[in-house]
Amino acid sequence: MKLGNHIRRCRFEHNEISQQALANAVGVTRLTIHSIEKGKFVPSTFLAFKLARFFKKNVEDIFYLIDTEQENSGET
């Protein structure tokens, strides 16, 4: 199971805010935002809520679960 996200889309909807500006707003480094967007890093609940609050959305609107087993079986 993986954690997917719509952060990239949210950033563009939010006046095309840069990764650095978003990182500054939620108190992390730009690399952290980059890694979350790429799905390489799973943020803590605290950070997920901070991101959701920044975009004025619910956490579920930004993050979602990807069932990798289903995804794989769907492909085959």
């Binding site: 650095q20 990182a23 500054n24 108190g27 992390v28 480094t29 730009r30 690399l31 952290t32 890694s35 390489k40 890093f41 943020p43 803590s44 950070l47």
Partner: protein
Amino acid sequence: MKKGFLITNITASFFAVVSIGWLIYDFIAYGILRGKMLQLEPLTSLDEKLGLFIWLGVLVFLIFHIVSFLAIASQFQFFKKAGALRVIALLLAIVSCIFILDDIACLSDIGKEYQEGLEVEFEWRSLYRSSALHGLFFLVMLANLIQALYRRTEVKPGEAAVHDVTIFTLVHAVGVLCSGIGLFGAFAALIVQRSHPLLHITFPFLFILSLIPYGLLAGYWLIMKVKEKPENWYDEKQFRDISRAALLTMFTTIPLMALIYILTYNAPKNPMDILWFPVYLYWVIFCFSLGSLYFNWNN
């Protein structure tokens, strides 16, 4: 932060000018002393005073290198980006700092061997090469300082990152470089100078000089972070990255130290008696810094 930037960079500029002047003096003094020493002519009291000021110059150069590392660290933090001149100045500063060991060794050897009536041409050549490297560093560093002080007004407040990665990356990159040089020096000492009688005198100098850049930058980072709460020292991804790097360090250090222990168990008076601690420390810094950089950039 701007105050710290100004203090370190202006102090470094002062020492840069003094060091360049002192290096010119050194070259003049070398010219006077070298001719007499190669001909084994007796030295006058004036010549001995010239020699004393050369030794004082080594101390001034060491102070300049220390101030330079602090100035470069403050520049990285202030501008939040690397810059070619800054990176070149940093690399030259590390190599030049280690070559202070060469200055000390050559000056000692020249003095001792001259008193014993031995040939010192090789040491003089080595001293000139080392001085040329210092000269190159002094000029590049001065250019870097002038550029940094000139461009300080270009940085606008609010543009910079709140959680900065520049110092994090810088400390670990310098850690990889310094410990890499140290490991190379330790293994070279182990292989080439197995029977070197002065290993216990020369190696501590290399050990200290090679760790000065890393120690200063890590100390600078720590001073910057002391003002913050410990939980804010790293963001959560950085914390995960250094945790992975620490695990990697532990898993690689234990087999290495076990191997050294086994190989030297029945070898009394082995160079490893002196080298085990520097090798251990260099290895830990190397693995931890390289691991931190790798995980930070690739995950």
